[in-house]
């Protein structure tokens, strides 16, 4: 194990830790705008993690789609409803404590299971690189049906979103 590897390893762990911190920020920050920004940070962190997994295309999609599109939409929404998102208003409801306890219990439980499970590792795919063309072939071949379903869903959602948000449909 050379230094570089160690550095990379440390970097990844640091990345994960940072991402978790931002994630905490997402759910705790009072200002929704800030929360949205931390979400962006989380997403970027995740994208970086993808790079470490040699999933470059996924990283690109993550950045483009999530950070580029979704976050933008969210921020728009936040700004459109902004005057309510003031500091003075309570941003969390009264069930924080049970929720927290539940989540912790979940973490402990699943974590225990995760650690106990002997994860099978297939050495042949461990270092396999997935090229974009491989993805394309898989999408258009094996998974063409779900792909099409997703596209229909997208269209539907698009139309639906337009219809719902259209002014005048609700007086």
């Amino acid at each position: 194990m050379d230094f570089l590897q160690l550095a990379v390893k440390t970097g990844i762990y640091a990345l994960m830790a940072g991402t978790l911190v931002f994630a905490l920020g997402v759910v705790t920050l009072k200002n929704l705008f800030h929360a949205a920004l931390s979400l962006a940070a989380v997403l970027i962190g995740t994208a970086a993690l993808y790079l470490a997994f040699h999933a470059e295309f996924m990283a690109a999609v993550q950045i483009l789609l999530y950070v580029g599109a979704v976050i933008t939409v969210i921020i728009f929404a936040v700004m459109l409803t902004e005057h309510i998102a003031e500091r003075s208003i309570l941003q969390h409801n009264k069930q924080s404590l049970p929720a927290l306890l539940g989540v912790l219990a979940l973490l402990v439980l699943i974590g225990k299971v995760l650690l106990k499970t002997p994860w099978p590792v297939n050495p042949s795919t461990l270092d396999a690189r997935v090229s974009v063309s491989d993805l394309g072939v898989a999408l258009m071949g094996t998974y063409v049906f779900p792909f099409e379903v997703i596209s229909i869903l997208l269209i539907g959602a698009l139309i639906g979103a337009v219809v719902i948000a259209r002014k005048g449909s609700h007086p």
Binding site: A99, L107, L114, P120
Partner: protein, 104 residues
């Protein structure tokens, strides 16, 4: 990838997931809930990609499904936010606990 054991990554995604759940359960603002849902989806995505590298299935499977999840996340955001806007227009609120038509 071989640098970090799979279980660590799973722990990480689990933590992300837990945080997301916490957010969904506690955020009053519907937009906040939506954001938290994005966190959860992200955790799932990380798992998918991690598994795709290590299990015996062909490696692109996980990525393809991750792609689908991203698409669905986009849909959720679009429709969800549209609903939020409509709700805001109709009821002048974006807080989940102020929308309780189902209450006895």
């Amino acid at each position: 990838m071989n640098l970090i054991p799979l279980s660590h990554i799973l722990i990480f995604s689990l933590a992300l997931f837990g945080i997301g759940i916490y957010g969904v359960l506690t955020r009053r603002n519907i937009i906040g809930i939506l954001i938290s849902i994005e966190l959860i989806l992200n955790a799932a995505n990380i798992n998918l990609i991690a598994f795709s590298q290590t299990t015996s299935l062909s490696p692109e499977t996980g990525q393809v499904f991750a792609l689908f999840v991203i698409a669905i996340a986009a849909i959720t955001a679009a429709v969800g936010l549209a609903i939020v806007l409509a709700l805001y227009r109709a009821r002048k609120t974006v807080f989940a606990d102020e929308v309780h038509l189902l209450k006895w």
